[in-house]
C-alpha cells in the first residue's frame, strides 16, 4: 500500500500527464484547419499520445530515483513526466524550439534528458538494449541504480526485445521490462500479432519472473513494480511486467481509427484509471478531495506554464541544423 505522499505523487503524475496529452491534442490541431496537413501548425509531424496509460508511468516511476534510467517508446510523454523530465524543455522540444531538450532536433519521439536519465525513441523496442546497458553500467560501477525499459504490446514481437530479455537474464542485471499492453499496435489487435494472450508468460524463456497486471490497475502495478525494482536493486535480476492499459486517442493524432470497434474507447473511459485511483485515495481517507484538487490544479498549472514557455520560446536558426552531429 503506497504512503500518502506516494499516493499524491502518483495522482499528480497521472493528472499532469493526462492534462498534458489533452492539451497537446488541442494544440496539435492548430494550423491544421480547415484542411488537416500533418506538416502544418505549431506541432507538426506524428504525435502519439498516452492518455489512458498513465498508470504504467506513475506506478512504476514512483519507485525510481533520478539516477535510475528509463527508456521509453514513441509514446513517451507520460513516462517522461513521471521520470521528472524538465517539463518546459520537453514541451519546447515538442514545439521545435531552441530552448527544447535537443534544441528542436528531436521532437516528441526523441526526448533525451540526461539530468534524469530518460531517453525515448521512434523505433519499436530500440530502448530495450540501452536499458540493459544502463543496468550493466550500474552493476559494473557497484551502484544500486536500476533501469526500466518500456515497450508496447506490439513491440513485444520485435526480435531486439527478446535479445535484451535474454541478455538481462543471463547477466542477472537490474532491469525491469514493462510492456504497456493497450491492445493495439496501430490498427493490429494483439490477438493478430501475438501468439500468446499474455506476454508475461514469455518471462520464463529468460529465467525471470513475469507478472500480468490486469485492468490498468495503478495500485496493483505499484506493488508489482515496487517488488521488481526492489529485487533489481538488491541484485535479484530482471523482471518482466505486462500491464493491461488503455489507449484513448488514435495511434497518432489524425488516425481515423476505422479499424477500432465502435464504443471501445467510451467503455474504457467509463473505467478511467485516474478517476478510480482518485476515488480510492479519497474513499480510503488517504487524502481529502480538497487535497486532491490542490494537487490537480498544481499539476495543470505546471502544464499550462510549460506550454506558455514553449509557445513563447524562439525557433532555432536554420543553420543550427548543422550543429551537434558529433560529440
Amino acid at each position: 500500500m503506497p504512503s500518502k505522499s506516494q499516493f499524491l505523487w502518483m495522482y499528480e503524475a497521472m493528472e499532469k500527464a493526462r492534462y498534458y496529452e489533452d492539451t497537446i491534442a488541442a494544440v496539435y490541431m492548430e494550423g491544421k484547419h480547415p484542411k488537416f496537413d500533418i506538416g502544418a501548425g505549431p506541432l507538426p509531424g506524428e504525435m502519439h499520445l498516452a492518455a489512458g496509460q498513465e498508470p504504467c508511468a506513475a506506478a512504476v516511476c514512483v519507485h525510481l530515483r533520478w539516477d535510475d534510467t528509463v527508456t521509453a517508446t514513441h509514446r513517451p510523454h507520460h513516462a517522461a513526466i513521471a521520470k521528472g523530465v524538465d517539463l518546459k524543455k520537453m514541451t519546447a522540444e515538442i514545439f521545435g524550439k531552441k530552448a527544447g531538450l535537443g534544441g528542436g532536433r528531436g521532437g516528441h519521439m526523441h526526448l533525451l534528458d540526461p539530468a534524469v536519465n530518460f531517453v525515448c525513441s521512434g523505433i519499436i523496442a530500440e530502448g530495450a538494449g540501452p536499458a540493459v546497458g544502463a543496468a550493466l553500467a550500474a552493476k559494473l560501477r557497484g551502484t544500486d541504480a536500476v533501469a526500466v525499459s518500456y515497450v508496447g504490446d506490439g513491440a513485444a514481437n520485435q526480435g531486439g526485445f527478446h535479445e535484451a530479455l535474454n541478455l538481462a537474464g543471463v547477466w542477472k542485471l537490474p532491469v525491469v521490462f514493462v510492456i504497456e499492453d493497450n491492445a493495439w499496435g496501430i490498427s493490429v489487435p494483439k490477438s493478430k500479432s501475438t501468439a500468446v494472450k499474455d506476454n508475461s508468460v514469455r518471462a520464463a524463456g529468460y529465467a525471470m519472473p513475469g507478472f500480468h497486471v490486469a485492468d490498468n490497475d495503478t495500485l496493483k502495478l505499484f506493488d508489482v513494480a515496487g517488488e521488481a525494482i526492489e529485487r533489481a536493486r538488491k541484485g535479484g535480476g530482471p523482471t518482466l511486467i505486462e500491464v493491461e492499459t488503455y489507449r484513448y486517442y488514435g495511434h497518432f493524432q489524425g488516425d481515423a481509427e476505422s479499424y477500432r470497434p465502435k464504443g471501445e474507447v467510451a467503455a474504457l473511459k467509463a473505467n478511467d484509471p485516474i478517476a478510480r485511483f482518485r476515488k480510492t485515495m479519497i474513499e480510503t481517507g488517504i487524502a481529502t478531495s480538497a487535497e486532491a484538487d490542490a494537487v490537480l490544479s498544481r499539476a495543470r498549472a505546471a502544464v499550462d506554464e510549460a506550454f506558455a514557455f514553449a509557445r513563447a520560446a524562439a525557433y532555432p536558426a536554420p543553420e543550427e541544423a548543422l550543429a551537434h552531429v558529433f560529440a
Binding site: 488537416f36 496537413d37 500533418i38 506538416g39 507538426p44 509531424g45 506524428e46 521545435g96 524550439k97 527544447g100 535537443g102 534544441g103 528542436g104 532536433r105 528531436g106 521532437g107 519521439m109 526523441h110 525513441s121 521512434g122 523505433i123 519499436i124 523496442a125 506490439g154 513491440a155 514481437n157 520485435q158 526480435g159 531486439g160 499496435g185 496501430i186 490498427s187 493490429v188 493478430k192 500479432s193 501475438t194 489524425g254 476505422s258 479499424y259 525557433y315 532555432p316 536558426a317 536554420p318 543553420e319 543550427e320 541544423a321 548543422l322 552531429v325
Partner: protein, 339 residues
C-alpha cells in the same frame, strides 16, 4: 470509366497490386497495417476488401521475420509483396533484405528465383524527425542484388510496381510519402497523373527527360524531380533552359541518358533528398567524368542533405532539404550567374 483518370501515386500503387493479384494467385501482400488500415501511406488501400485476409496479411512488428518469410515464400513459388512501413526501419531487418533476399539468386548461380517486392516509404519535409524522414537511396543502391525503384509520379509508379511484381528477383520499391497524394499530407501537383486503367509495365533502368533543355542538366529522382521542375520553370524567365532528368530507378542506373545530356549542356546539377556524401549525387557526377571530364564546363553542383540527421524543427528541416530555390541558385552557379 474513361481513360483520362487523374490518380494519386498511392492509388496507382494499389491498382498495380490489385491487377497483378487478379492475374496471378501467387501474389500476396504482408506488412504492418496494410489490411484494415490500407497501409499507413495508402499503398494497399482497398485490397483487404477485395482479396481478404489470407492474401492481405497484417503482420506483427517483426520485420526480420516477415521479410525473411517473404523470401521463403518467393523461393517456394509465390510472389510476395512486403511493406516496410518507413525505410528508416531498415536497420532492424537489413540482413533479410541485403544478405538474404538480394544474394540468394547469386549464391544459387541463378538456379533459384526470388520474386519479392519490398515496398517502403521515404522522405521528409513534414517534421517527422530523424528516424521517420530519411530516403536512404544510396544505402540500398550501393549493395548488389536489389533493383531499386523510386518513382516521381503516378504513371511511373503503376508501371514500375507492375514490373517489380513480375520480376523474378527482389525489387525495392521506394515511394515518397509526400508524393502519395494523401488527404493528410501535402503533395506537389504533377505527382498525381492521368492513369491508364489497363495494366502496364515500365522497364527498369530508363531515365526520363522530363524537361528537355540545352543550358544545364539537372538530375533528380523521386520528390526532387518536382523541385527541379519548379526551379527549371522559374529560370525560364531568366533565359535559362534547363534539362531535367528523372532517373526513376537507382538500380539499374541509366548513366547513358545523363552523360549524353551533360555532353550537350556542359553543366550538371544533381539533386537528392538522401544524405550527401557517398550517395547518389557523387555516383552521377562520377559517371560523367569517368566518361569524359571535359564534358563539364563548370564544377558540378550537388544538392542533398548535408550529412546531418533530419532535424525535427521546421526551420532546420527545411534548411537541410533541397528545394526549388536551392536548385535554381545551384543552376545559376554552374552558369556563372549570381546565385
Amino acid at each position: 470509366m474513361t481513360s483520362n483518370r487523374i490518380m494519386t501515386v498511392s492509388r496507382a500503387i494499389s491498382e498495380a497490386i490489385a491487377q497483378e493479384m487478379r492475374a496471378d494467385p501467387n501474389v500476396f501482400v504482408m506488412g504492418e497495417d496494410i489490411g484494415a488500415y490500407g497501409g499507413i501511406f495508402g499503398a494497399t488501400t482497398g485490397l483487404l476488401g477485395e482479396f481478404g485476409e489470407s492474401r492481405i496479411r497484417d503482420t506483427p512488428i517483426s520485420e526480420t521475420a516477415f521479410i525473411g518469410a517473404g523470401v521463403g515464400a518467393a523461393m517456394a513459388g509465390m510472389r510476395p509483396i512486403v511493406e516496410l512501413m518507413f525505410v528508416d526501419f531498415f536497420g532492424v531487418c537489413m540482413d533479410a533484405i541485403y544478405n538474404l533476399a538480394a544474394k540468394n539468386i547469386y549464391f544459387s548461380g541463378g538456379n533459384c528465383k526470388v520474386p519479392l517486392v519490398i515496398m517502403t516509404a521515404t522522405g521528409g519535409g513534414y517534421s517527422d524527425a530523424g528516424q521517420h524522414s530519411q530516403t536512404l537511396h544510396a544505402t540500398f543502391a550501393h549493395l548488389p542484388g536489389l533493383k531499386v525503384v523510386a518513382p516521381s509520379n503516378a504513371y511511373d509508379a503503376k508501371g514500375l510496381m507492375t514490373a517489380a511484381i513480375r520480376d523474378d528477383g527482389p525489387v525495392l520499391f521506394m515511394f515518397h510519402k509526400g508524393l502519395q497524394g494523401l488527404a493528410w499530407m501535402a503533395s506537389p501537383e504533377g505527382a498525381a497523373t492521368e492513369l491508364p486503367e489497363k495494366s502496364y509495365a515500365l522497364p527498369f533502368g530508363e531515365a526520363k527527360i522530363v524537361r528537355p533543355g540545352k543550358d544545364v542538366t539537372v538530375v533528380a529522382i523521386s520528390m526532387m524531380v518536382h523541385h527541379a521542375m519548379d526551379a527549371a520553370k522559374a529560370l525560364e524567365k531568366e533565359g535559362i533552359d534547363a534539362e531535367v532528368i528523372d532517373l526513376r530507378t537507382l538500380v539499374p542506373l541509366d548513366r547513358k541518358t545523363v552523360i549524353q545530356s551533360v555532353a550537350k549542356t556542359g553543366h550538371l546539377v544533381v539533386v537528392d533528398e538522401d544524405y550527401r556524401s557517398f550517395g547518389l549525387t557523387s555516383e552521377i557526377i562520377t559517371s560523367v567524368v569517368e566518361e569524359n571530364p571535359s564534358y563539364l564546363k563548370s564544377p558540378p553542383r550537388r544538392l542533398a542533405v548535408p550529412d546531418v540527421p533530419i532535424p525535427y524543427s521546421r526551420p532546420m528541416e527545411q534548411f537541410v532539404l533541397p528545394d526549388a530555390i536551392d536548385i535554381a541558385s545551384a543552376i545559376r552557379g554552374t552558369l556563372g550567374k549570381a546565385a
